[in-house]
Amino acid sequence: MKYLDEYRDHRIAWALAAEIRQRTTRPWVLMEICGGQTHTIMRYGIDELLPRGIELVHGPGCPVCVTPLETVDKAIALALRPDVILVSYGDMLRVPGSRSDLFRAKAQGADVRIAYSPIEAVKIAGSNPDRKVVFLAIGFETTAPANAMAAWHARHKGLSNFSMLVSHVLVPPAIRALMVSQTNRVQGFIAPGHVCTVMGCTEYESLVRDFRVPIVVGGFEPVDILEAVLMLVRQLEAGEAKLENQYVRSVSYQGNLPAQQLMAEVFEIADQKWRGIGPIPQSGLRLREEYAAFDANRVFDLGEITVDEPAECISAQVLQGLKKPTDCPAFGMRCTPENPLGAPMVSSEGACAAYYHYRRHSAAS
């Protein structure tokens, strides 16, 4: 299949791995930001092809994993209202809230529907005028344009029964937060190619400059990841810190300007809590005042939902790259995809789930 097979070609992958081995003279800690990249690394065993000195740690870029518990609880509370149809991306349904998840809410009679695109939720609202349709609008900059488009459509259609429960997070503030953290170990980043397809590369220039850290915008196939690692190793070994773009087939320097424009029209930047990490200033998006009528937080009286979270799960350290999922005493024992203790064990992009699904055998041996 074109655009896939050549990026999974073992000869190209092995040649890249050989060059990485040849160029690596010192140990380096690299972080791939996006959960999709973590998934590829685990699925294809990319880390097995790398020299021992190169440590890949897994970043906070799984949208499902970092969605705050309060948002999940609010979604469940909304879904359980008989007048509400809750529409969500599929992999949010199994994410545990503090007492339940959306699958269980569905089993209790909640009308929960899976959508592949937020526009479907707008259509559902159009064809169910007597119900209130709430779309659980989560994700990074990748899903933000489509979610913005849903709100824009609803507003232009004059729909009064559509709203969105928004929990949007932004990548650059998270990288900034990681870099200023006292415990940071990361020396180079593979930036998320899909986020940069939307946002372009400009935001990453200041990170490279402020922290003298190399950043390579990378794709999601094995050859992409290996090439991005090689580009980082070249920079690190030469003592350089530059912004480079490995994912040129998708990412332009300016990004997708119409998408950015739409996002800016619908959303504004706000402080945001990240599950497993905590609050990061100016790291999220919320609906602008003009879109208040589509903000589920304002449309519904949800009250203050507070949550207590015990601390066996080490997702905070995992999402910062301080620990590997297999360092967790609960991994694969008390915490499994059937009974997840933390969100990274739920989504297929979560680091813990990726280790569990693809690599338990090597962890055991």
Binding site: M1, R8, H10, W14, R43, Y44, G45, P63, Y89, G90, R94, P96, G97, R99, S100, D101, F103, R104, K106, A107, I114, A115, Y116, S117, E120, I138, G139, F140, T142, T143, R176, M179, V180, S181, E203, D210, Q260, M263, G276, G278, P279, P281, Q282, E309, P310, I314, S315, A316, Q320, E338, N339, P340, L341, G342, S347, S348, E349, Y358, R359, H361
Partner: protein, 359 residues
Amino acid sequence: MSTKSPVEVKFELSCPTPLPAKDTILLGHGSGGKLSAELIRDVFLPAFRNPVLARLDDQAIVNVNGQRLAITTDSFVVKPRFFPGGDIGSLAVHGTINDLAMGGATPLFLSAAFIIEEGFAMDELRLVVNSLRQAAADAGVDVVTGDTKVVEKGKGDGLFINTTGIGLVPEGVNLSADRACPGDKVLLSGSIGDHGIAILAQREGLEFETLIQSDSAALHTLVAAMLGVTSNGTPDIRCMRDPTRGGVSSTLNEIAERSQVGIELEESSLPIHEEVRGACELLGLDPLYVANEGKLIAIVATEAASAVLQAMRRHPLGAEAQIIGTVKKENPGLVTMRTPLGTTRIVDMLAGDQLPRIC
């Protein structure tokens, strides 16, 4: 969009409370994955405990007056009821015949029970019944008994069908999921994922068109051709399974678990149609977990593998058959896969249904 100057963020430990013990049935309990297995283990097996059931094969094989009788039952709730390559009527025949065939049985008779929602269109019912009749006739099996129930409007989802099948297992045939041995080969009768993707593409809200047809088919004649290869009555074919719900991965995990062996697949040898690969890439699904309704997996002794493979390829339903892996003594209970990069990964059983990824 710009960001503020660096601010020291205090990283907080946080993690959700584990959910309470499962107290309600979730959709995942019907997915064929781990939740289904738990339900069977925790509720059904203890209630009906007996040695025949404990084998957990796709069919029960019981001895009646010296004859080995195979019996199986299956319920069909597929939505949409009509899809490219089949419908709920033909599927209700194929599914049950295949469960008999996986035990090596020659299917003989079927029952058909219909649970119909009040208000269901008579024309649609006739179409389904006609399709069921035709599929049974094509397979050479009679529907000899049945049942009808009508439930109130809103208390059913249009139409559910249950079929039960009985058949006879020929002398010398002994297929079971606990018989895989290290060294055996894993054979797959053709491309995977066709049925699941054909259904998914028809579902509401999925705005892509495909030419993918469900592979729904009765496999008993393919099975007969394969069993015909077996030389001198030696049980060269250890086990057969049709990878329906949960896909190839769930089926192989069950065999690995039951036989306490490892199974290693070769990713590059998996037959997957381009359209199915494309749809799976787009939706973030893994074809190994997508349902099939006209494919079988056979665990075959290594010395017979080539002859069985040739017999499969001579049959129209096995034309794309491949050897996809080997049974190992390492990693008992686990299915692993050699990737094209020469690395190895686990092919796990999913907890519930595979969920489309957000991005």
